[in-house]
């Protein structure tokens, strides 16, 4: 009862603050947006070469923020796997029934293609597509069992892939310096008839770093080492 009262009082306070602040602001500024956003909207196409303003903010104007975000996710993966490092959990069995395995094996390529599509085409798609890639590893872990994953992928493939993705991001960060532009600006490469922009490449590497981190988090919950040593721990 006491905590309900605390919550009610807090809610009332927040509501009053919002109402007071809204009464001053919206009537005057309802159709205006802040000048920084207006600058982004007006100059995104000429500055960065992308028409999507959210992608321009994420991968050009505030790209350092995005890279920090990737590092936070990698740090989380390392932290979670470290906090389970001392324990040995039971392996997740030999998987589900053959019918489930068959139908999931048909679904997995489709999800993979959709995740690549998301990484390439959506603003900030590296994050969404990366989580989809990571969930693929979770699905295969549950459906096929951790033994299959171990035979298929080796003991710990995630750390190497994560390192490669982060190296790629660092390379693309430094690449605009060669073209005489500031760090992390969007550089467009001409490959014959096609164009490839560096923000798309950063998005791809981001997607892989995030997918590998999510996969690492899932796999640290189901230890593969217990299977590798052939011992059934409970």
């Amino acid at each position: 009862m006491k905590r309900l009262g605390v919550a009610c009082v807090t809610a009332t306070c927040i509501f009053i603050i919002i109402i007071i602040s809204m009464q001053n602001a919206p009537l005057k500024y309802q159709n205006l947006i802040p000048s920084s956003s207006e600058h982004y909207l007006r100059n995104a196409a000429s500055d960065t070469g992308t028409t999507n303003a959210v992608a321009a903010v994420l991968f050009d104007y505030r790209a350092l923020d995005t890279i920090g975000e990737v590092l936070v996710i990698v740090a989380t993966a390392v932290g979670v796997s470290l906090s389970f490092g001392a324990r040995v959990l039971a392996r997740t069995g030999s998987g589900l029934s053959p019918f489930v395995k068959l139908s999931v094996s048909l679904v997995i390529p489709i999800v993979f293609i959709i995740s690549l599509h998301t990484i390439f085409l959506s603003a900030g798609g590296g994050f969404k597509g990366g989580v989809m890639l990571g969930s693929l590893s979770f699905i295969s872990l549950v459906v096929y069992g951790s033994g299959h994953d171990h035979e298929f992928l080796g003991v710990n493939p995630w750390q190497k892939a994560m390192s490669v993705a982060i190296l790629g991001i660092i390379t693309l960060t430094l690449l605009p310096l060669l073209a005489g532009r500031p760090l992390l600006t969007n550089t467009v490469f001409n490959l014959g008839s096609r164009q490839l922009s560096s923000s798309t490449l950063i998005s791809i590497f981001t997607g892989f770093a995030i997918g590998m981190s999510v996969a690492k988090i899932f796999h640290s919950l189901a230890r593969i080492d217990a299977w590798a040593e052939g011992g059934d721990s409970e």
């Binding site: 919550a7 927040i14 159709n31 920084s36 303003a53």
Partner: protein, 110 residues
Amino acid sequence: MNFVVFVIVVMLVASSLALMLCRNAFRAVIALVIFEAGIFLFAIFGAYIPGGGAPIVGSSDLMANPLPHAMILTAIVIAACNTAMAVAMLINLQSHIASLNLDDLRELGG
């Protein structure tokens, strides 16, 4: 429109506060997630402009503010990391002291 969104935001935040004051650590984590959802809704609503379209250059005259979208995308990712880390801590807590009650944490003497 404004009023409905603010009522929803305040309900999410207040209910999460009520949940957070429970002595169960798992409920506190769920409350954290609900609280974050309320904050995201509030910040995303700041990008809304009446009659504005998607922030794609050249699509329409009046466009929504792109900055809150980018910022909340960042915040969602950080929130997911927080939740993963908190749940990992809860699993360790359950295996060490076999309880998720925050009062039992005093046994650890930290």
